[in-house]
Amino acid sequence: MKLADPETKPLSRLNDSVDAGWTRLLGLGRIEGGVRRMLILVVVAFAVFAALKPSIFLSGTNLRNIALNSPEIGVIAIAMMLAMLTGGIDLSLVAMANLSAITMSTMFTAVAAGDPALAEQLFPVILLAGIAVGVLGGAINGLLISGLGITPILATLGTMQIYNGIAVAWTGGKTLYGSPSALTAIGSSTVAGIPILFYVFVLVAVAIGVVVTRTPLGLRIQLQGANPTAARYSGIASRKILLSTYVLTGLLSGIAGVLFIARNPTASADYGASYVLLVIVIAVLGGTNPNGGFATVLGVVLATLTLQIVSSGFTAMRLSAYQYAIAQGLILVAAMAFEQVKWRRRLRSRKPAVQPG
């Protein structure tokens, strides 16, 4: 009854086709909730700081810093989004990234001690080894969650402690120095004024966007998160899906580890400790439904940029990291409150859930 009849409503048909066109154009899902909200937020955040402190905020250094800080956090946030898409979570992402960075640094230093030139030549092998550590960590998570059926938050809390513990024991809690110079070169160079690392971030985002929206695996990940029971009755092998998802988040952590070490030729067990919760904030802010089934990569990318803009804006205004933490929390709470209000309005137009007697 509430549905417009498409034949009598040419305007609504036009709207639909415009919508469909956008969808196809962006290829990253409909512009709905998360993405639209983040587009507004990212512009507002940028405009506010550009207006308040244009001399510092709009400087080339500051903008390049935003582009340099975003990739590692963004890649981990996209991994978090994938885990949340299945209705799970992955707390071990940062620990896996550090372990991957430590592996690469250790390998390089060990080989370089004997033959520095060989160590440089082995650069691709070292890179792959680092990423492989991430994949392995992800596979362990996946097996615990899909095979043994441990709740994701507990399984990854456990492995986070394990991976972190291994990293601390391995490094003796010290910071390791040393990485292939090619990697460092990539980390410090720009193309067309934009850091190469940022291109890597965009590439990863596009690739995961394609996986989520354009492959059978991505469709199944979404459906598994939307309704595990219906997924089972539709012939979706949930174990395989969960295993693949956590292997994928492990892979992204491995890539994040590469980004860590490309930015600074150092690796340590406690790098990015604040990222663990930050990436949850980013994923949810970007429109990821923590109950599973709904998320867009574009939303998460925009949320990453927003928080980086706010962070560097705070620095430009000489505000402290604690004040930035407060702002982070406020942005999340405000965005969620906004969502709740909208949700409640939608519920009100439906039948009331409980009839008072």
């Binding site: 979404q222 219906a230 089972r232 039948k351 008072p356």
Partner: protein, 504 residues
């Protein structure tokens, strides 16, 4: 049924006059007027989307009408709010009953009225006698201390009725009260309804099930496209006439089965299938192009047999052959690989991804059948499949991106069906395919099944709706206490025979 004495020539307990309600330019109710006498059962019938739920919401105060008035006991309201409605004695029992599953029956009966009275402290001991009084008055056998989640659907419903009566309901509106009940439970409900009538309660039944409606109601009001097309004594109507008013077209519920070639190959064969405690020695065959009905009471084992064939709860003895080859059915994926599809009974949780789009739901079962050689989804093929099924099954929605949650029961069921047709299984089982589906959709769904069977699919319809089985099934299998007790064929496939065998 009209024999129950009404208390005097009474005036209506509830009247609605000239109600108009529009949603964003679409007229949901167009000048609807109704009245309800004390001690009367009025059936409100109509297809999904005809406006009956909107009308109920307006009466119960959940929605405000654009114009018109609601008169309760001579007091005129231009619109209700939920508190007014409850204070005037209007109670709605929705399909999900809105009970608290973790509380006991007594607590459920008392709690909401205690909350409405703004009582701050709750005493279980004080609550019991009031609950007991209602239960005794209606002559029910309800265990007041049982947790509601452990009750059968029928007992949950009775709990909801008791809860309504505790707050002195004068008008009781029940949404699809018989959908989830077996025949015996429906009979029990109707006994209670008679008792309510003798207390002077006016009842409005919202229902799809025509034969039941006619048995219990004194009057029937039929809505079509937001208009009250007829209000008439039930004795003046028969199912055919009601269907005509509801759809505006003749309903075909006559038997329509194709001539089945006796030589056509057997696609499915069960030999002595059994599962301890559920069913035993189940043997039957299904031919290519055949529609086989499976019926029996709730708990007879009919659903368990279907779930065994779909690998949900595997059988522990016997053999299943598909196209003559024995197959292993240890998981749902085994069954799907063997070419078996299943439209489950619980459409909302097992069949559909409610918040996902129609498109995602249709393609959910067959993404691997729509890939390019790079392993990505072939968007063109996906779109063709989705649009093709969307059009062929005539799903009523603005476009395929609409979430399934926005669809009516009949349209949602078409989406589940589309999900399986996108895969083209050899054997398709449907459990309760038309439960909660309006009659127009019902006829169309049966039509689709006939067409699929004619194209070579083997179809199994599990249902307790006898007319539906008669309308489409070549043969009907009757399950009782976990055993196949009867296989009806030819002229034996008749409504009365089926009901008799099921209840025996």
């Amino acid at each position: 049924m009209t024999s129950t004495a009404l208390k005097g020539p009474s005036s209506p307990v509830l009247e609605v006059r000239n109600i108009v309600k529009t949603f964003g330019g679409v007229t949901a109710l167009n000048d609807v007027s109704l009245d309800l006498l004390p001690g009367e059962v009025l059936c409100l019938a109509g297809e999904n989307g005809c406006g009956k739920s909107t009308l109920i919401k307006i009466i119960s105060g959940a929605e405000k009408p654009d114009s018109g008035e609601i008169i309760v006991d001579g007091n005129t309201y231009s619109s209700m709010d939920p508190t007014d409605a409850i204070k005037s004695g209007i109670q709605v029992i929705y399909q999900d009953f809105s009970l608290f599953p973790n509380l006991t029956v007594a607590e459920n009966i008392i709690l909401t009225s205690a909350v409405a009275d703004r009582r701050r402290l709750y005493s279980g001991r004080a609550a019991r006698p009031a609950a007991q009084a209602i239960v005794d008055e209606l002559g029910l056998h309800l265990d007041l201390d049982a947790d509601v989640e452990r009750l059968s659907v029928a007992d949950k419903q009775l709990t909801a009725i008791c809860r309504a009566l505790v707050s002195d309901a004068r008008v009781l509106i029940m949404d699809e009260p018989t959908t989830a009940l077996t025949h015996t439970e429906v009979d029990r409900l109707f006994v209670i309804v008679e008792r309510l009538r003798s207390r002077g309660v006016g009842l409005i039944f919202v229902s799809h099930k025509l034969d039941e409606v006619l048995k219990i109601s004194q009057r029937v009001a039929i809505l079509r496209s937001g208009k009250n097309v007829v209000t008439s004594p039930a004795s003046m109507l028969d199912p055919r006439a009601i269907a005509l008013h509801m759809t505006g077209q003749e309903l075909d519920e006559t038997r329509h089965v194709s001539e089945l070639d006796a030589q056509s190959e057997i696609v499915l064969e069960l030999e002595g299938l059994g599962l301890r405690g559920a069913y035993e020695d189940v043997s039957f065959t299904l031919r290519r192009g055949e529609i086989l009905g499976v019926t029996g009471l709730l708990g007879s084992g009919r659903t368990e047999i279907a779930e065994a064939l779909f690998g949900v709860v595997p059988h522990d003895s016997g053999v299943v052959k598909v196209n003559g080859t024995p197959v292993r059915l240890h998981s749902i994926n085994d069954a799907i690989d063997a070419g078996i599809g299943y439209v489950p009974e619980d459409r909302l949780t097992q069949g559909l991804f409610m918040d996902k789009s129609i498109a995602d739901n249709i393609i959910a079962g067959s993404p691997n059948e729509h890939t390019t050689r790079f392993g990505t989804l072939d968007l063109r093929a996906v779109r063709e499949t989705i649009q093709g099924l969307f059009a062929r099954l005539r799903v009523k929605a603005p476009n395929v991106q609409a979430p399934v949650r926005s669809l009516s029961g009949g349209n949602a069921q078409r989406v589940v069906l589309a999900k399986w047709l996108a895969r083209r299984p050899r054997i398709l089982m449907l459990n309760g395919p038309t439960v909660g589906v309006d009659i127009g959709s019902k006829a169309e769904i049966l039509g689709i099944l006939r067409a699929e069977a004619a194209a070579g699919m083997g179809v199994i319809v599990i249902s307790d709706d006898a007319p539906e089985l008669v309308a489409c099934c070549h043969r009907v299998l009757v399950v009782r206490h976990g055993r196949v007790v009867e296989i009806l064929e030819g002229d034996d496939v008749a409504v009365d025979t089926i009901r008799e065998k099921v209840a025996a």
